[in-house]
Symmetry: C2
DNA sequence: TTGAAAGCGGTACCAA
DNA sequence: TTGGTACCGCTTTCAA
């Protein structure tokens, strides 16, 4: 039943005995329809299983394309390159169907700059937003304000839970930490003397990676004799200096856990410290921009744990596009990308 | 330059001073256009950078939808469930744009049955094919015949290199084998006493997984004292019996490598043999249907190496669809899905 | 509050 | 070999 040719707006109009325009008003609740007529139309649509055809809508959308504004703190952070590639891949695929996107970027994690960039997107006429920003009150307010103003938002890469966003497209960071723990347990000898170089304490995902690791290590029964935590701000220079200092202070470190950017800086510090000449040091990182790939190939990093950044970009745009073409009825579901273990052999 | 509003067929027609119909004939080389007129139109299109709008085409395609026939040897092989989910996800996404798909399945690797199924798809009016079949001459001929008859083919999951197929969407199986080797080297003690349970010697991917493993083990310097090869035909019963016999014959086996289906049967045989009571046995498998997931969670399998089956299904359909809407001009590029390591912690 | 008509870009068909 | 016209499904606008 109902698995036949799709129902069109004209068929509904004919069945009810009204014009297509009237049906359209009901479909898109534009008002100005007598309630009882609206109800008859609604019933008929339900019975016949009507859903507006996306190709028809897309063709009209050419006049006012859907303009998705994208924001990423991606300057100087190669991780986001793949997310951006994903954005543009989706744009290329859906351009003919009335989609266009534009992008604003900042460097680092200063929340005022994020908010300013997002507001600029709105001023430039964004009809929707895909953003990766911080899990702090000011940023959440900014997102909620956009939604209240009728601009739907998808959270990319950073969860922003509790806001009015449509959905989240990104990684399960705790799972990433758990996975790292298991791998470490296979590589290292008890007890661990660990240096953790995290990105920013303001980024929830980075924190989740740390807690996910520590909890899982405890569950696995590994003892942690030393646990030093440093912040790199996703910057190679900063990472270099904090790592070098930590290694000098604690030459017994036998394991380095890098939750975010600054991977190159950490590895440079490891080389310069000469620590590896004295004992083995296991290194686990996250994500795989080109710099990290090279370090994996050279054996300076044992594993890197990835999160499908290309798909995050692609999926966010695609989901928003289909949300619009579907008449903004049902919010897209959260999309958790895979936790992907990369070693020299499969990178 | 050229980054402005997209050019429409009407603009070309007006610029050249002909009707839209005539331009349409040139765009789709339907002939019946005076050569010199055709040339003027072609030049104008090149200059102005014309490309037909996909939404317009999609709307028309509603009358004669693109019908993609899909073939998989998926009966009784849970691996393909996710590929099929990918097929239908793409169908749902593009249905409104004039796409429909239909599926034929067989059980196992009898090439005549594959060919019969594919020919049935053609008789049922497929305008394109997405197929996973064997890398043997008869199947290749069948694919080439379809292409010669004007029905483009995408090879899914199984490469079919050397045929006239549009492209391949699937895994790099050698890479899978290499990855398994590295993981084994982390888990096992030298020397390995290995049992290999492969799917079918007729499936190139399964063979690649075996050779990829053996080559990489040699490179890694691991010695292989025993190497027993059995065929499961992706069937749990067969897998059970060949495994049980092998374990009885060679109780020194300390490592089982399962390249394809029959994973449940192998693990059952391991339990029944009681081998694990005497010494540790490492088990590595491929792919993660529900049965395998459960075995990973219970610790009966150490790793499973996956290949993004959902994406294979989705991508094959999506690529074919865009190929049609793009006017069949440029063949889509090969799509190699990721080699994904799954352990209990990230499954 | 409603209907009628034009138009989005491309294709198909008939008449010239 | 060409042009004209209708149509795919939906939105928008104007008039009633």
């Amino acid at each position: 039943m109902g698995k036949n040719a799709p129902v069109t707006i004209r068929e509904i109009a004919d069945a009810v005995g009204v014009s297509r325009g009237t049906v359209d008003r009901v479909v898109n609740n534009r008002g100005k329809v007598k309630p009882e007529v609206a109800e008859r139309i609604q019933n008929c649509m339900d019975e016949m299983g009507y859903a507006p055809n996306k190709a028809g809508r897309a063709l009209v959308a050419r006049k006012n394309p859907i303009r998705i504004g994208c924001f990423l703190p991606s300057i100087g952070n190669a991780f986001f390159d793949e997310v951006i590639r994903g954005f543009w891949a989706a744009e290329a695929e859906f351009r003919d169907f009335g989609l266009s996107i534009f992008l604003r970027e900042t460097r680092g994690y200063r929340v005022e700059e994020h908010i300013a960039a997002i507001n600029t997107l709105l001023e430039e006429g964004a009809s929707a937003l895909c953003v990766a920003t911080l899990d702090v009150p000011a940023a959440r307010d900014c997102v909620n304000a956009a939604v209240a103003a009728g601009v739907p938002v998808i959270a990319v890469n950073n969860e922003l839970s509790g806001t009015k966003r449509l959905c989240y497209v990104g990684s399960d960071y705790q799972k990433g930490g758990k996975t790292a723990a298991k791998l470490l347990s296979m590589l290292c000898h008890d007890p661990l003397e660990m240096l953790i170089v995290t990105g920013s304490l303001q980024v929830k995902g980075h924190n989740d990676r740390v807690f996910g690791l520590l909890n899982a290590l405890a569950e696995l029964g590994l003892s942690l004799r030393l646990e030093t935590l440093e912040e790199s701000l996703d910057d190679d220079d900063v990472a270099y200096h904090v790592t070098l200092r930590a290694l000098e202070e604690h030459p017994e470190i036998n394991c380095v856990y890098i939750t975010a950017g600054g991977v190159g800086g950490v590895c440079q510090a490891l080389r310069d410290s000469g620590l590896r000449a004295r004992h083995t040091v296991e290194v686990i990182s996250f994500d795989d921009p080109d710099g990290t790939k090279a370090l994996i190939r050279r054996g300076e990093i044992d594993f890197t744990i990835c999160q499908e950044p290309f798909r995050q970009g692609y999926q966010a745009i695609s989901a928003m596009f289909h949300y619009f073409l579907g008449g903004k009825k049902t919010a897209p579901a959260d999309c958790l990308t895979e936790t992907v273990i990369k070693i020299k052999e499969n990178i």
